[in-house]
Symmetry: C2
Subunit: 316 residues, 2 copies
Amino acid sequence: MKVPSELLSFIRGERKFFISTHINPEGDALGSSLALAIALESLGKETILYRDGIPKFYNFLPGIERFTHSKPSLATSHWSLILLDCNTLERAGIEELCFKCSAVIDHHETEKAFGDIKWADPNAAATGVLIFYLIKELGIKITKDIAINLYAAIAIDTGTFRYGNTTSEVLRIASELIEMGANPLSISTSLYETWSRERFALLISALDTFEIINDIAIIVVTQDMYKKTKAFPEDTESFPNVPKVIKDIKVSALFRELDKNYWKVSLRSRTDINVATIALRFDGGGHKNAAGYTIKAELESAKESLLKELSIPSSI
Amino acid sequence: MKVPSELLSFIRGERKFFISTHINPEGDALGSSLALAIALESLGKETILYRDGIPKFYNFLPGIERFTHSKPSLATSHWSLILLDCNTLERAGIEELCFKCSAVIDHHETEKAFGDIKWADPNAAATGVLIFYLIKELGIKITKDIAINLYAAIAIDTGTFRYGNTTSEVLRIASELIEMGANPLSISTSLYETWSRERFALLISALDTFEIINDIAIIVVTQDMYKKTKAFPEDTESFPNVPKVIKDIKVSALFRELDKNYWKVSLRSRTDINVATIALRFDGGGHKNAAGYTIKAELESAKESLLKELSIPSSI
């Protein structure tokens, strides 16, 4: 994977970096941002890491306390932006800020016009893979803290090496990160075995709504369930994957109630069904096998509209 | 990892190999056996693969049809035995057979006296890792079929690279196996996403019994649930692991009804609690973090007896 030379020049030439990532950040967004910030600081650069709404279970990522959660009061026009794992200011919720120069490092398919410098590689399994190559190309030593952040980033986006984006290269990088100090058991335990009791109770409530219609698995999380279980919306992360263990379903959908008659729909599919296309029809987005959208409707008609769209063949 | 020279001489010198593995075989036992058989045949050797009771979901392993499921009627005294992933004839259920010579290739800790040639390395994550090195040392090309079998073997025994035995070396081997044709998504899907709808319905029923007492998570599967969901006892495999996602539980226990007032109890723990010791007190057995026993009692008193034993400190 070749790091664009203009990105290397940009990083070598600038001194002050404002690093941000998308709203509702997950492991790849956070781990990549942290790894890059730690690496740049080792070069003597100044960094501001900005992201609010970080789920608590990412507290194990080394340096997570570096994140500023409120928008900076300082003028950012002397800072250079590096936007990770997304490609517009809006996705990071910082559209009102001005920067000296901006770079986008992303692995999502939907390329956008934003960014003076862009490195968007949809073939990369995770933004963490791009940051791995960037750090190496800059000649920076991969410390234990960088290794843990990058391993977690790559682990999250590959389902810990189970998804289709798990390549020979991904495992070779992960192998190298272990040599640099990443501990697979400790990271996996932190990623997958740190549920609160409330979260588990919420999963049980959600599974009690489980149904399969036309080979589409559907589960629902309501506001009422949050109240009963004392769990939170961010606890639903990974819920749409749960019914994917069933061999003959085509799509797994989670309907999460945002407000009365207002739903966030998360879709997961296997290789042959492109749910990003489906999500786009509802003005949402995402990846081929993991996408989402919001919809204002009563639950039953929201379900029906999804089932209708899924019955229309989508381009792969 | 160094392959013993006497094992290499033995394989180079002999012509007829009887390959077997333990009763209730899992992915490492089966994948290792198949990979070795395919490799030896490419050297012009004759092989017999013997193992009964192979779960259907391993049908995706290339060459699985090579297994003989009934004990061979031929005299085996002219054949050389290679015993994989176990270390006694009894564990393979072939104690009445005689062989010309025998080799044991295993990664379990409990070394036994059996075997003219022994390669037992408890530091290996899987028997598949040993077979990988053996095949390479013999100068045999790793074909796609061999790669898939070895990848599946290693994946199963490392929780697909999540357990503590996942080392830098393990990921480097897995990376090489992908280059040789193993497909991580396809193998993971075959291993983890082939549940029947009935099995998923059974899990939901079981989770509706979920409770936590003294930091012990308990779920129950009754005969009545099998009837209602049309699922089977073997569908409960992996159920005891499900509540392990909760961060602050000490042990996860599944009570599975074998008959009226007769329960099979499966225990799972994290690193610091030895459930094998607990299971032993009920005349059961297992590993430190995964053990089980049966008990004749009413459900509530069966639960109480477990909670009582778990409140007594166990040696680690």
